[in-house]
């Protein structure tokens, strides 16, 4: 008997239109076979009864009447001067604007002071535009999503596949883009830095100009600037801290931690080569704490394991192998989450390239955690906890402690006594 199957189908007993007679019999049979089965059913009934106890608050009839009037007034309001009259340009509602602002918060990565100004620049652009065509807004949101690599807001879930399908990797930078990248690099000029950073600019430019570079061309200059700056910033932070922390006798503890953060950050952004290089540099250090070194070893092993899993020629088999590793090897903290995001991206890209995304019955779908359906059923609670903890760490990094707490609390709720539950508890205690 599969307890997961039983638990998943148990709530549906309450809604018998969802289960065939055969399935009902199967659930009941399972319940009878297990001593705690009857308790499970009583608990289910208790939850349903508790939900039933919550009554609906009816609005005042006058409010409903005025609602209709207000809606009709709003939709019949004349078009403001300068606002396009065509229906295909949808003004940003207050909710959408708030969401856009929330998404733009993702850009405020503490490591890069220059990015803080970009948010204001983008918002100013939005103000100036008054309304963005739907496709441009989608591009802005997708760009911000690529920057943050954090879970998409639910309403944007469908956009990821569509946008990724349109993106083209740029083999070479145009002069204009190159200038933008250089301008972004100049943001670092006002940051005090050691001599080890000499030559950084040339190295980064070589990186972004390489054929495998992932810079993306967008029609809006401000989005291109945003992307270019962020991509360069992430890379620059990685390279800079790598050089910064190393001294003649290896790394000091502060440097090791900075390097670890850099490696984690690179891994989370899919730059596994940089992550691996920095993890190895840490292992070469002579003054790192044993616990941290062990964690780094686990991350390195995880990178190697995941690379092996990705060696299968069949893309679907590859996804499955990585997903299985996610299930079976949640011991490393950062890399599994990073590969998990990578798996998401690959799943989406595969779906788009094979045009499955346009067939709703076959398209890959994602739940709230961004877990694709083809993976969800083999993920264990422990893996979900790791994902949640990693997301929490990421939110902490982005400065959103409310979201971080939410992630940790959800991880804690899954299993408070497990290793990852205790990690979540620890993070919560640190956040206060």
């Amino acid at each position: 008997m599969d307890p997961t199957w039983l638990e998943t189908h148990l709530p549906l007993l309450r809604y018998q239109d969802e289960l065939s007679a055969e399935q009902v019999a199967q659930v009941l049979e399972h319940l009878e076979a297990l001593p705690p089965g009857s308790d499970l059913r009583a608990q289910l009934e208790g939850v349903a009864h508790a939900l039933d106890a919550l009554s609906l608050e009816h609005p005042h009839p006058e409010r409903l009447r005025s609602l209709k009037e207000q809606v009709l007034l709003a939709v019949e309001a004349p078009v403001a001067p300068g606002e396009p009259a065509t229906a295909d340009v949808e003004p940003l509602s207050a909710a959408e604007r708030a969401q856009l602002e929330a998404a733009l918060d993702l850009v405020e990565v503490p490591l890069h002071p220059g990015l803080a100004g970009l948010r204001a620049a983008v918002l100013a652009e939005v103000d100036a535009e008054q309304a963005l065509p739907a496709d441009e807004q989608a591009e802005v949101e997708a760009a911000l999503d690529l920057l943050g690599d954090v879970p998409l807001p639910a309403r944007l879930a469908g956009l990821r596949g569509a946008v990724l399908g349109q993106l083209q990797a740029e083999p070479e930078l145009t002069a204009h883009e190159r200038a933008e990248v250089e301008a972004a690099l100049d943001l670092w000029e006002d940051v005090e830095r050691p001599a080890a950073l000499d030559g950084l600019k040339a190295r980064v430019l070589a990186e972004v100009g390489a054929p495998a570079g992932q810079l993306v061309r967008f029609p809006n200059a401000f989005v291109a600037t945003l992307l270019a700056a962020a991509a360069v910033a992430l890379l620059a932070v990685g390279v800079a801290l790598g050089g910064w922390a190393r001294g003649p006798q290896g790394f000091d503890p502060h440097g090791v931690r900075a390097l670890k953060r850099t490696a984690d950050f690179a891994a989370l952004n899919g730059r596994f080569a940089i992550a691996e290089e920095n993890y190895r540099l840490i292992l070469e250090g002579t003054r790192a704490e044993p616990e941290l070194l062990e964690q780094v070893r686990q991350e390195l092993v995880a990178i190697q394991d995941y690379r092996r899993a990705q060696s299968a020629s069949d893309p679907l088999l590859r996804q499955r192998q990585v997903a299985t590793l996610l299930r079976d090897k949640p011991d490393a903290l950062v890399v599994p989450a990073a590969f998990y995001h990578d798996l998401n991206r690959r799943s989406t890209a595969a779906a788009v390239q094979s045009q499955l995304a346009f067939d709703p019955s076959r398209a890959l779908r994602f739940d709230e955690l961004g877990v694709p359906d083809n993976v969800r059923d083999i993920l264990t609670d422990a893996t979900l906890q790791v994902i949640l903890i990693q997301q929490g760490l990421r939110w902490e990094q982005l400065g959103d402690l409310i979201q971080a707490r939410n992630c940790y609390q959800r991880a804690l709720q899954i299993d408070p006594e497990s290793e990852h539950g205790l990690q979540a508890k620890h993070r919560l205690s640190l956040l206060g």
Partner: protein, 195 residues
Amino acid sequence: MAIDPEQLARNFQDGDAPAFADLIDAYQERFYRVAYRILGDADAALDVVQDAFVKIHRSIEQWDAASKFSSWAFRVVTNLAIDRIRRSTRERKAWEHRAQEEPAYLDDTTDAGLVAQDRKRLVEEIKLAIEDLPPGQRTVVALRHYEGFSLKEIAEIRGCAVGTVKSTLHQAFRSLRNSLGPQALSRASAIQGVA
């Protein structure tokens, strides 16, 4: 005879502007119920319903008439409600405020009064438990438990697979079960038995 709401939507999309007012009549109460069940606050729910109708009016071109209008429209409502949860910290206060507004039964020691006390306590507990659910789980509970949508319909509304809805519902029930605890669950069943 009332016109089928799906037909009303098609008429409106085809340029029959007055059909929009009829659409409001046809859907406002259902929209409200769903929004209220997700948000737990009447004023917030009414705001969401209003925003939803405005959005539907402005975006009707985006509705694919080959699919069900109601699925598309409820997606607009649930997305707006979820957005509101995510960006609003006032919601918790709304729940707490409403809890304080419940009539006081504590002085009533008759049998009926004791049941009422139990019910009041249970209502407060379930409100808190629902508030702790992630927005997606709340939405699935609202649509399935309170509004009677099938898992398939919910999948269409939320734009996800049926399996995801099933799994989300399971997670929601599990979270509610854990939040409420055995005592509250027993009390809920006992109260329901009395009722």
